[in-house]
């Protein structure tokens, strides 16, 4: 296998045994970015000099016989809503470009660096994470490496496209309503939205704090596991961080799936999409011998409640700028943000109460099953600039509908991995949904599906 095609764990192993240097690895990533990113538009900043210095430091640790970390020499990049010391955190906006550079790294950026990974840049996104397509007017749309005329998905579109295009093997994204899972599905990579509170959000620009999660995107289950293990655990600086101690997942990965109870979500998760997305769920179900179907009741209402809370929190967060300079917002988000500020408080509280009720119902389902399968998006990547799309014989608005199957799950903070399945030229995503803090179970299932050849993420 060419070193460029290795996953993050493969790269780190090569660097640790000195069959590759971190410097050469990072230099190759910078060359790929220089060659391909003009067309794909994943990066909003490339930190070439700093990356070269950090790579040299990793090589020096290896040469000195020190432990360079489980991600030694792995080039990575982050959605531009993560603080990177010395870089202004854009969060996809023009407004935030006026701000001073961040004083220190976001917690998870610092964690990956401590694990030996080398940050090479910051990645494009929908403005303030309010979108599912990364059609950013200020910085241009990110293009899908599987077909550059199509959207990469969003809001972590740069994060998914950079991995799918082989620019870097590992990125970080954020997911409030589907923003890791949707682009992972449309670009054909793996994306992990961890349990709410499992990974610190300290130093990341918020959108709707009630649902904001951060997590990794990569081309293998083991890369997700190693990245999660580097980042997970309590953090007093994130007010919603769980106090549970970190529980490593990497060593669980090869345990297989014996004894796991897997069911396919029906009703809300079995309609409103193109037949091929349900066929992809069927492919995964067959590979797992999952015959049971399960109903997540009131999922459509959970999606509505997620929209209410997102609007109320996101609208309030940006109210000052919406009052003072609405024209500085991206036309793709402006009208939605303006409308969001007018959400009645009664609806917000009702949605928060409904969330507690729904959480209790879904928790009860996990007494019966360990993993639930559902599609990630209702259709594969649509063309850039398209407003409406034909689905299942009817026409719907393309952009909001991308979150149909992801919103009811982030709403209650469940861990989910979107895995890529192929039935044609464009990838489809299938969500592996677990009980809170059971990421290791999802990673075992994803690894099993890779071994079966049902899930794969080749470089585009």
């Amino acid at each position: 296998m060419s070193p460029d095609a290795l996953d993050a764990v493969g790269i780190a192993a090569a660097v640790r045994r000195r069959s590759a240097s971190a410097r050469d690895t990072v230099e190759a990533a910078l060359a790929r970015i220089a060659e391909r990113d003009k067309a794909l538009n994943c990066f909003t900043a490339v930190l070439a000099d700093a990356a070269r210095r950090e790579a040299a430091a990793v090589d020096a640790r290896v040469a000195a016989g020190e432990d360079p970390g489980p991600l030694a020499g792995v080039p990575f990049a982050v959605k531009n809503l993560f603080d990177v010391q010395g870089l202004t955190t854009l969060a996809g906006s023009r407004i935030n470009a006026e701000r001073p550079p961040a004083a220190r790294d976001a917690a998870c950026v610092a964690a990956l660096r401590r694990a030996g990974a080398v940050l090479v840049g910051a990645l494009n996104m929908d403005e303030y994470a309010f979108g599912f397509t990364t059609e950013n007017t200020h910085y241009g749309p990110t293009r899908n490496p599987r077909d550059p005329e199509r959207v990469a998905g969003g809001s972590s579109g740069g994060s998914a496209a950079a991995v799918a295009g082989g620019l870097v093997p590992l990125t970080l994204g954020s997911d409030t309503n589907g923003s890791i899972r949707v682009p992972a599905a449309l670009c054909g990579v793996l994306g992990l939205k961890p349990t709410y509170g499992r990974v610190s959000r300290r130093g990341t620009a918020l959108f709707a704090g009630a649902f904001d999660h951060v997590g990794p995107l990569a081309r293998s289950a083991r890369d997700l596991a190693v990245a999660l293990d580097a980042m997970q655990g309590p953090d007093p600086e994130d007010p919603v961080a769980s106090r549970r101690p970190a529980a490593p997942t990497r060593l669980e990965l090869d345990r297989g799936i014996a004894g796991l109870r897997v069911a396919v979500a029906d009703e809300h998760f079995a309609r409103g999409g193109e037949p091929e997305v349900f066929a992809a769920v069927g492919d995964v179900a067959r590979a797992l011998d999952a015959r049971e179907r399960i109903t997540i009741a009131e999922a459509h209402r959970a999606r509505a409640a997620a929209m209410v809370i997102t609007a109320a929190e996101g609208g309030q967060l940006h109210l000052a700028d919406l009052r003072a300079r609405p024209d500085a917002f991206d036309p793709m988000t402006r009208d939605r943000f303006l409308a969001a500020t007018l959400m009645p408080a009664t609806a917000y509280v009702a949605a928060q109460r409904f969330r507690a009720w729904y959480r209790a119902r879904v928790r009860a389902l996990f007494e019966r099953v360990d993993v639930i399968l559902a599609p990630t998006t209702p259709y594969p990547a649509p063309p850039i600039g398209q407003d409406r799309i034909q689905v299942d014989g009817g026409e719907v608005l393309m952009r909001p509908t991308l979150g149909l199957f992801t919103q009811p799950l982030s709403f209650i903070g469940l861990p989910v991995i979107s895995v890529p399945v192929w039935r044609g030229k464009l990838p489809l995503g299938v969500q592996l949904i677990g009980a809170p803090f059971q990421e290791s179970v999802l990673l075992r299932v994803a690894a099993h599906l890779e071994r079966q050849g049902v899930v794969a993420s080749p470089i585009a």
Binding site: V308, R336, L338, A339, R355, P436
Partner: protein, 62 residues
């Protein structure tokens, strides 16, 4: 749709004034369209009967 863009526009005009949000007439149709969608989502939530003892989870632990 229970709430159409024209009734959303009437609400938006008053509510925006109450919170000091400048909504120009040129902007109103698009904002009202978005707001109608949000208010219909809100109605779906508000109409759902919940037991009185169901509280929000401010410190949310899944």
């Amino acid at each position: 749709m229970a709430i159409d863009p024209s009734s959303a526009a009437r609400y938006a005009e008053q509510a925006a004034a109450a919170i000091g949000l400048p909504l120009t007439p040129a902007r109103m149709p698009a904002v009202a369209q978005q707001l109608a969608g949000l208010l219909n989502a809100a109605a779906l939530v508000v109409e759902f009967p919940l037991p009185e003892d169901v509280e929000p989870a401010p410190a949310f632990e899944p």
